[in-house]
């Protein structure tokens, strides 16, 4: 939780990453060099990373800020994607423009989030996790079975790009900037929210619900707000995802594996930390969608006969790598690789001497504290 006005130009590590990403398409030599080396276009892949980062932000609001373990975020992702499918494919009469569908998807997902949130307010911990898991699965089965509306396993397609301009398919840059732009806006929104009354109340709720309640906070309202915002961001990501794929994909794209994958990203990155969510997604999605195909391609070129054995492919090891990462993180660095300073302090209170925790008040921090903190990440 960064203190206010600490980094006036936004040039924290987070800002730096966003800036680098903004500048990347301006350097064709990077794109070409990578393409020549790997045969794959990074620019085509990154929008998917941004979309998942947005989804991770949404999940982070519920799991990271508010501390409610949510194992069904994919359902809200699906709501966004299917909103895009229903309101923009030729199969339906609506065919609304993308700019209307985008907020609509977010609103629809937020609404569903409230619907799920309301009855589950009194549940805690494991039980809430199970309800969200069950909800995710029920959503998946429903999407599969109401064939008349969702086209079942075939998915709704094709979803047209935001405008008719041919550049949407000729070039990677329009999508790149669209998704990155939405992601940055979401990051700015969350940055302000973290410092707001609501953001601080969420954290109080996460730390101790009973105490927060005694201090006059209304847990029910706060949880609902977290559910609505988290689901809304997930829905936004869903619309972008479906638009990017030009299809809602099939309902299996929104199953438990997707939800748990996002939880993994957050945990590896650092729960409750925006930077953590971003880097966690970059790390895991990058591993999954960018690194493994490249390595597998190289393996295939070198040893054309190796493909028959699953343990000779890199993708074959994917689950083990993720599993091991989760276990090791939990054992040795439960705060994640890029934790928010607050979580870090909670888990390693003894190190607090060298690393002062920032006060959550709105007041200005001293330059000294900020400097130490800024050099750390």
């Amino acid at each position: 939780m960064p203190p206010p006005a600490r980094k006036p130009f936004g040039l924290s590590w987070e800002g730096g990453i966003f800036l680098a990403l903004l500048l990347y398409p301006l350097f064709p030599m990077f794109e070409r060099g990578l393409f020549a080396a790997t045969g794959r276009s990074l620019g085509e892949q990154l929008p998917l990373v941004f979309i998942f980062a947005l989804l991770a932000y949404g999940l982070n609001v519920v799991v990271g800020y508010t501390g409610l373990l949510h194992l069904g975020i994919a359902a809200f992702f699906a709501v966004g994607a299917y909103t895009a499918g229903i309101f923009s494919t030729a199969a339906y009469a609506f065919q609304w423009p993308f700019w209307v569908v985008l907020p609509l998807g977010a609103l629809a997902a937020a609404g569903v989030g409230l619907l799920l949130g309301a009855p589950t307010l009194r549940l805690r911990g494991d039980y809430l996790a199970l309800v969200t898991l069950g909800f995710g699965e029920v959503t998946k089965f429903t999407l599969k079975n109401v064939v008349g509306i969702t086209a079942g396993s075939q998915g709704l397609s094709p979803i047209n790009p935001p405008t008719d301009h041919p550049a949407w398919s000729d070039d990677f840059r329009p999508f790149y900037y669209l998704t990155l732009g939405v992601l940055i806006l979401a990051a700015l929104l969350l940055r302000n929210l973290e410092r707001s009354r609501l953001g601080r109340a969420w954290i109080a709720l996460r730390e101790d619900e009973l105490a927060a309640n005694c201090m006059g906070l209304n847990p029910a309202k706060l949880k609902l707000a977290a559910f609505a915002l988290g689901s809304g961001l997930a829905g936004l990501a869903g619309v972008l995802y479906a638009t990017r794929l030009t299809s809602t994909a099939d309902p299996n794209a929104y199953d438990f594996n997707r939800s748990i994958f996002l939880v993994c990203c957050l945990i590896v990155g650092g729960l409750g930390s925006r930077l953590g969510a971003l880097l966690g997604v970059m790390l895991l999605v990058g591993f999954d969608n960018i690194l493994t195909p490249i390595i597998d391609g190289a393996i295939q070129q070198q040893f054309p006969d190796a493909g028959g054995k699953i343990f000779l492919t890199f993708t074959g090891w994917r689950l083990a790598v993720f599993g091991l990462a989760l276990i090791l993180m939990m054992r040795f660095r439960p705060e994640g690789l890029f934790p928010s300073s607050r979580v870090k302090h909670e888990l390693h209170p003894d190190e607090a001497v060298s690393e002062p925790v920032e006060p959550i008040t709105m007041g200005k921090t001293t330059g000294e504290v900020a400097a130490i903190d800024g050099g750390k990440a």
């Binding site: 805690r124 069950g134 939880v263 699953i310 074959g316 994917r318 054992r331």
Partner: protein, 325 residues
Amino acid sequence: MTFAVEPTFWTAFLQQTIDGLAFGALIALIALGYTMVYGIVELINFAHGDVFMLGGFLALTVLVLCGLEGLGVDQNRIKLDDLGLWAKAGLIALCLLLAMPFCGAINFGIDYMVYRPLRTAPRLAPLVSAIGVSFILMNVGLFWGGAQDVNFPKLVSDDNLLPADTGLRLTAKNAMVFGVTVPLMIALTLFVRFTKLGKAMRATAQNPTAARLMGINTDAVIGITFAIGGALAGAGAVVFALDVGTISYTMGFQNGLYAFTAAVLGGIGRIPGAVLGGLIIGLVRYYGSAYVGESWTGALIFGILIVILVFRPTGLLGSPTREKV
């Protein structure tokens, strides 16, 4: 096959009930592992379903080593038809005898290596680690059997044990499922209720600190609980493989979800609850397929999970507990 009796609504219903109960007994066996572990360390052991899955692959490997076809080895193999009833029964017993300690050991090992160091950590930590373990075990299963469905030798026939004029079928497979699961459940209940170790388990579940103060080695008790849960999953795996005839590396995930839905439904932490929950889930799966629609059964089962958790979080047999602060 000809029908001696025209199928009526009621014979069809009874038939689905028999098959559903058999499936439910299987789910109950897996659910017991979830519920015992939750009862004692309050952890949803996500990896339990995958321990079950590995048990299936071990059983298949045992059979292949004994000379049967499978896992891509099909040259000069024993034909199933050449095996007598006793040889088949012996092979099943061998599978059970090896799969149970194998799965028990895996589950014990997981607890020892992964969960034990996290005993005092926040509750999210073991839960996430459990998901991690589940991934690793799935990967092991993927290497073991490949991504596709693997056929499991048909050691038990589908012959009907009931006279044909009843219009009902109770197959040898059904009998085998009940024959393995019911005694195991009874044995477990007796063990937990009447042995010293069982008492220690109940004490640890109730209050670990007090149990430790009373001289109980709680770490050992927890380890044994994991081992027993794993052994039950191993038995479940053999029975499942024989009954369904197919194993795959994803079967742990699907059946694991059903099983812990069953555990929660019955009241997580309660052994009779897991059995009741398992049977109900089995019946829901079969009635759902017969009367609602095959593709809706998954939604039905998870719908029940949600409804139970929201309106009666303690499950059917659980007693309300006070929130620990």
